[in-house]
């Protein structure tokens, strides 16, 4: 779709004016892929890992560097569930709603989590502790219904075990007193539902 663009706009190598060192991580990925436009997803991965979520300013930066239309970058960022445009909670619970998991009552798990924490899927608790996400398919249908809590894949869950697993994760970090632990394992395939 996107024809190659040869714009004479600002040089792509200009660092982000804010001087935020996290942009250096993005720049490193950009250089690794020699500013190729088809490296967009890789660059967004890096951006999300560095910043936790993709804010607009970040997307604008990536679009400029790759000389891609903003609408294109935004489209890719919204297409994949892995990318988040809102700040994420310290803990993350992804419930697979793919066909196999759905048949195995994943919807009940989502409903139970929503009731327990008072938020909808796709939202973060007001205290910033937990984000609940419903994913299309995590590609692990044999383990249905599947949860991913803070990057850890949990198989054959029920509403009760799901809440317990989430609670455990929250309490563990509270006990350890450390903050961030949302290092998602990105080994699963976001395109799994195709």
């Amino acid at each position: 779709m996107v024809e190659s663009r040869t714009r004479s706009a600002a040089s792509p190598d200009l660092p982000h004016p804010s001087g935020d060192p996290r942009f250096a991580l993005i720049d490193r990925t950009l250089k690794r892929f020699r500013f190729q436009q088809d490296a967009l997803i890789e660059v967004l991965h890096t951006a999300q890992e560095a910043f936790g979520f993709l804010e607009e300013d970040l997307l604008i930066y990536v679009a400029r560097q790759l000389k891609l239309p903003l609408s294109w970058v935004y489209g890719v960022a919204t297409f994949y569930h892995f990318f988040s445009l809102q700040p994420q909670g310290e803990h993350n619970c992804i419930v697979c709603m793919g066909t196999a998991c759905y048949v195995k009552r994943a919807a009940e798990i989502v409903a139970a989590l929503q009731t327990a924490y008072g938020i909808e899927a796709g939202q973060t608790t007001p205290d910033g502790m937990l984000s609940i996400t419903a994913a299309r398919c995590l590609g692990s249908c044999g383990l249905a219904p599947v949860l991913i809590v803070d990057g850890q894949v949990l198989a054959r869950e029920t509403p009760e075990t799901a809440i317990a697993a989430v609670q455990l994760a929250i309490e563990a970090s509270a006990a350890a007193g450390n903050g961030r632990s949302s290092q998602l394992d990105d080994s699963y395939d976001e395109e799994g539902d195709l």
Binding site: R7, E56, F79, R136
Partner: protein, 883 residues
């Protein structure tokens, strides 16, 4: 002749052109494969799945998308098979799952491909019993276009148009699955100049026209083929009228002119045709200082005829002048100058941008030629603002054919984003810039060798000197020399003003040296800039470009009109206003021109004339000063022809009529006025009495019964319009031929002679006025016609003076701060706007802002598009408030 191959559809063999898309090939053999995403003007995508057919792939029948398959020898398809039919039915059923059934209030209802396909190919029932997805239903994607995300079927046509034609991919598809929506990046709504085309492309009612929304039903309008009169391109449009109002404007295909696109000005700015502020009766001011009162046509026309004739008798014909407009139709322009020359006996007839501009009347060879060029030189023109559809063709040449752009412009215009070179200049430096480029060209041996054969070569080399060429100039020269099919486009800004002749000479020298003078074209600015010149709406030339001093040409028209014509050239636009201010011009007839809106000088001039007639749509600033105001009609309310920038004469037929208004077409006003002219009326009376005195037939001269009859006379008056009668023009218009103009004054323009450069005393920017003012056209300004459309305020250029941020910092000016700008002739106050595309040392103010700041600073039309100015912080006091 394309090579034909054989394909099989439903066991029948057909011969179709090789490589054609299956959907198009099927159309040739009357199989109408339904499509949504596929569009002949957009690249194939295969997103909507509506065109599913079966194809024999190595013995297995597979479901494929017909809109992406290019046919080849021996391909076998099934269109009507149960599997293919079922697949299309299922697709439609899926598309309709989340599509709201609000057809009764949907603008697209009645011309909606989704409705039509559902009726033709749909299952008729839906198995879907769940709740439909809800999305945004009134979601503005720009000030002009509303998106209903629920109706959208994700065909990508709008995304693709903006990407492929506008090269402004501002819309994208966000999210996925049944949540997919068309949207823009937050805070970056669509601002493409031809964005309205996506409304027509949309195969459902998802994108709607915010100006026309809910104002029409497609089966309920009377649709008339016409053309757009906002710029010189003359895009073909269809005017949809209902109960005497113009309800919407849509594009009409004309491959030679506008493909099937029109710009947003053409599509959205038409409210002026039915604005309640329109003049509906003639107005008369009985004595100076009195009020305008309503009057009948008879009284108003008789008064105008008598006063103009009286002034011509007593003060001499040179004391009467007329200012027309390049927006008038050929018929109106022709009759205005015929009235002035034939009845008043004066050559004082011109229009804004007329005699003051050294235009090339031949215009562009053909619009679509720009797509064949591999280097397009834009000299002092910004097609994106001035001819937006032409700009999309230029972008197409750049993106599809790898053309490069060499842009010479005082502002870093949008198209400088493309490969090529950009040479900025300040108004007044044009000639020097082209001389620099000519020097650069002459450094190349082969250029020098070729040019040495041209007349005037030695003088040119002598005059150019041997100053060094800077790096940007050298790059421009390199581009020029490496191009196989270069094309130079220049605009009125380059060839008007005091330096017009020198600028044009230096441009033509450059073009001659580059070997591209035959491909150097003038882009006329207004709807009928070319036609007004052809019709002789100029002080020194008659219809058909015969010069006033050219006796055979003049005598030909004298025979045609049955009168003696004045032999002295008349006054131009500015000269007439100057003469009026000096008291030499006593009566002035304004037709579609509004000098009073162009600053205090114009107002003062109009106040000095004894008798001012204004023929207009609205009570303009000039009309407020008039002694007689004659209500005219817009292009939509009368027949007329317009000649576009490629000399194409096109018809604009009457689409609507307001029964509550007495306003009349220009041609009819002139005709009826002429009949009341004392000499004509006297003659008619004498004829009535069967007097023995021989009549010259002047009364019969003005017996037009329709605009088409006026055009008939034009075909005899202007040789190049020969054979271009109303019927002959057809729906797509006809270009008047250049060949017939050989030997006429037109061929003089194509002189192959080099002109030695003028010795200019280089006037350094005086400290008193350190900045160069740059003025120019923008698509959405605040002109009289624009102001009648509500959305205009939101899309129009900001009312401000734009300055480079570096200059602003040096002058200690902040954005939004009011500043006073003064030139030798005027002073205005405007807020500051910071803009990096404005060159340091220049200030940018578009034409036609409220209060006419640019025009005030320039002082007159012939000042060209630049002036020296200074800038100083200044508060908006109540007495000098702008707008």
């Amino acid at each position: 002749m394309p090579d034909l191959i054989t394909i099989t559809i439903d066991d029948v063999e057909y011969k179709v052109p090789n490589g054609m898309l299956l959907t198009d090939a099927a159309k040739l053999i009357n199989i109408d494969i339904p499509v949504f995403c596929s569009h002949p003007k957009l690249d194939p995508l295969g997103a909507c799945r509506m065109c599913l057919v079966e194809q024999d792939v190595r013995g297995r029948w597979m479901i494929v998308t017909a809109c992406t398959i290019r046919v080849a020898e021996g391909m076998k398809f099934r269109y009507a098979s149960p599997a293919a039919t079922q697949a299309r039915e299922d697709t439609l059923e899926f598309l309709l799952i989340n599509h709201p059934l609000d057809c009764p209030i949907c603008d697209k209802g009645g011309e909606c491909p989704l409705q039509d396909q559902t009726l033709k190919h749909g299952p008729g029932v839906s198995q879907f019993q769940e709740i439909k997805n809800h999305k945004a239903k009134r979601y503005p994607i720009s000030d002009l276009i509303m998106l209903d995300q629920e109706r959208c079927i994700i065909c990508w046509r709008c995304i693709r148009y903006l990407e492929e034609w506008e090269d402004k991919p501002q819309l994208g598809l966000f999210h996925r699955g049944d949540r997919s929506v068309i949207d823009f990046f937050p805070g970056q709504p669509v601002d493409a100049k031809t964005s309205g085309n996506i409304i027509e492309l949309c195969p459902v009612g998802a994108l709607t026209n915010r100006v026309s929304r809910f104002r029409y039903r497609p089966w309920d309008t009377k649709n008339i083929d016409s053309i757009c009169v906002h710029c010189s391109q003359g895009c073909n449009v269809r005017l949809d009228g209902r109960i005497h109002q113009l309800r919407r404007v849509v594009a009409r295909e004309n491959m030679a002119v506008n493909d099937e696109w029109i710009c947003d000005k053409g599509r959205f700015i038409h409210a002026f045709a039915d604005a309640p502020e329109r003049l509906t009766t003639p107005l008369i001011r009985d004595h100076k200082g009195g009020e305008l009162r309503e009057a009948g046509w008879e009284e108003a026309l008789a008064l105008v005829a008598q006063r103009l004739a009286f002034t011509a008798d007593v003060q001499g014909p040179a004391a009467v002048g007329a200012l027309g407009s390049a927006k008038l139709s050929n018929e109106a322009a022709y009759l205005l100058q015929k009235l002035m020359r034939g009845l008043v006996g004066s050559n004082n007839v011109d229009h804004r941008g007329g005699a003051a501009v050294l235009a090339d009347p031949r215009g562009l060879s053909a619009i679509r030629d720009v797509e064949q060029a591999d280097l397009i030189v834009l000299a002092g023109v910004d097609p994106a603002e001035e001819q937006p559809v032409l700009a999309t063709f230029i972008r197409r040449a750049v993106r599809r054919r790898g053309a490069k752009l060499l842009i010479l412009h005082p502002r870093q215009i949008e198209d400088t984003r493309y490969p090529g070179a950009y040479l900025p200049y300040k108004p007044g430096q044009e000639a020097a810039l082209f001389e620099g480029l000519s020097r650069g060209l002459l450094q190349e041996a082969r250029v020098k060798e070729r040019a040495a054969r041209l007349a005037g070569f030695a003088d040119l080399v002598d005059g150019l000197g041997n100053a060094a060429v800077d790096a940007a100039g050298a790059e421009a020269v390199r581009l020029m020399l490496s191009a196989q099919r270069p094309m130079i486009l220049y605009g009125p800004a380059l060839v008007s003003g005091r330096a017009a002749a020198a600028n044009r000479a230096s441009l033509m020298n450059f073009a001659l040296l580059a070997g591209c003078v035959e491909r150097t074209f003038y882009l006329a600015p207004e709807a009928n800039s070319v036609g007004a010149r052809d019709m002789g709406l100029l002080p020194a030339s008659l219809p058909g470009h015969a010069a006033i001093g050219d006796a055979p040409g003049r005598e030909r028209l004298e025979r045609l009109w049955g009168v003696k014509l004045p032999t002295q050239p008349g006054l131009g636009y500015d000269e007439m206003l100057e003469a009026a201010a000096a008291g030499r011009l006593r009566a002035l007839y304004l037709v579609g021109s509004d000098p009073a809106s162009q600053g205090p000088a114009g107002q003062a001039a109009l106040q000095k004339v004894d008798f001012l007639v204004v023929q207009e749509l609205f009570l303009t600033e000039s009309a407020k000063l008039a002694d007689v105001v004659l209500p005219a009609v817009s292009w939509a309310e009368t027949d007329g022809t317009f000649t576009n920038l490629e000399r194409r004469v096109q018809r604009a037929a009457q689409a609507i009529a307001n029964p509550h208004s007495q306003a009349a077409p220009d041609w009819l006003i002139f005709t009826e006025m002429a009949k009341l002219w004392p000499a004509v009326a006297g003659e008619a009376k004498a004829e009535g009495k069967k007097s023995k005195r021989k009549s010259s037939g002047a009364a019969r001269q003005w017996g037009y019964g329709s605009a088409a009859e006026v055009l008939d006379e034009i075909t005899r008056a202007a040789p190049m319009y020969d054979k271009l009668s109303w019927d002959a023009l057809g729906d797509e218009g006809t270009q008047w031929p250049l060949a017939d103009a050989a030997g006429s004054p037109l061929s003089a323009v194509a002189s192959r002679r080099l002109t030695p450069p003028e010795r200019r005393s280089v006037a350094p920017g005086r400290d008193e006025y350190p900045y160069a003012l740059v003025a120019g056209q923008v698509l959405f300004d605040y002109g009289t016609l624009m102001r009648q459309t509500e959305v205009t305020e939101r899309v129009a250029a900001p009312v401000a003076v734009s300055i480079n941020p570096a200059d602003a910092a040096r002058e200690k000016l902040a954005a939004g701060q009011p500043v006073s700008i003064s030139s030798a002739v005027g002073q205005v106050v405007l807020p500051v706007r910071l803009d990096e595309t404005v060159q340091p040392g220049t200030l940018w103010i578009p034409y036609s802002l409220p209060g006419a700041p640019a025009e005030t600073l320039l002082g007159s039309v012939s000042a060209g598009s630049g002036a020296r100015v200074r800038i100083a912080p200044g508060a908006l006091s109540s007495s000098e408030k702008v707008g």
